[in-house]
Symmetry: C2
């Protein structure tokens, strides 16, 4: 029996390479815009090899969102993130979206799947809801502490502000896709102007 987790070699196993490639295509072109043939051709294998690792596209999609959820939890609990003061935690979040922008203007997971949501398999929908809920709860906590300590400023409840800010961030990457990086930077500037206490 071989390991199910990728080994620490320079080149990841096929299973991981499929997921990486599919993730890129999802965030750059949308879930309904790539096929097992695309994946196979890009990886230099036959389509059936993809089916071997992920029997159906539903399985692949679900695995994709599940991995993002695991990454979110890992990132959130990282000492270099969890132990930061709130305003820097917020900047760390902004940096994630900035990274997406830098990677050929990828949208975020939520922004990539929201429009086609009803065409997605139920397990994928469930994972995405969990992903979004946990991210929102994390940000609400950051905002609550940030305001309490005087580092952050906003009206309304931390929960409401968290929903609004995350929605705006997802949208900002979409606007960057449709136009260019400028509106994204404008939105980020606006968020900083409003949130960081003077």
């Amino acid at each position: 029996m071989t390991a199910q987790v990728p080994s620490n070699t320079l080149v990841p196993d096929t299973r991981t390479r499929i997921l990486d490639l599919a993730e890129g295509l999802l965030l750059e072109r949308g879930f309904n815009a790539f096929s097992y043939q695309h994946l196979a051709k890009a990886l230099g294998v036959k389509p059936a090899a993809i089916h071997y690792h992920y029997p159906s596209k539903d399985d692949l999609g679900t695995a994709l969102v599940a991995r993002q959820l695991r990454r979110l939890r890992k990132w959130r609990d990282l000492p270099r993130v969890a132990e930061l003061p709130p305003s820097e935690q917020l900047e760390a979040l902004f940096a994630v979206y900035d990274t997406h922008l830098g990677q050929d203007r990828r949208v975020c997971l939520f922004g990539a799947l929201a429009a086609d949501f009803r065409t997605l398999p139920a397990p994928m929908q469930a994972e995405l809801r969990t992903f979004n809920r946990e991210l929102t709860e994390w940000l609400a906590q950051v905002l609550a502490v940030g305001r309490a300590t005087g580092a952050l400023r906003f009206v309304g409840s931390p929960a409401a502000k968290a929903v609004q800010v995350l929605t705006t961030l997802a949208g900002a990457l979409q606007v960057a896709r449709v136009h260019d990086e400028i509106p994204f930077q404008v939105i980020m500037g606006q968020l900083r102007l409003e949130l960081f206490a003077a």
Copy 2:
């Protein structure tokens, strides 16, 4: 020769019925999630009839966005909208998004097409950019006058705030799709709380 514009009968012509149906499917399920077969079956005609009116799906998609752009311009210039005070113009905009929410949680045009943007035909991309640009310019003007007259309140430039607010509105409908109406209402409440002067 018959008229190219729909007549004033109760039932619209096939050309318009195709566009109406396609618009609904686009906003409810995404652009890559419906085919000419779906349209044909739902309208009780053969797929070739759709091709007769819109030779390719590119043509259909472009016609769809073009119509939305015409509607935006018409709405914006309507006396009952153009002659409103800024805060009520903003509420009129919010009401449009509220209508989308009420129509089976349809996302807005921008939110429906942003993720798949790179898979869209160039003319469709161009129309969507124009649509978004004109809507943003309109809102920037509303915000500028609103702040000048003391009815609206925000920091930063009207143009920046307009980009941010529209992005948030588009995202709000997407969040409603993924979860339920509650986060949408939460975001709207937050926007009103922040924008309308006390």
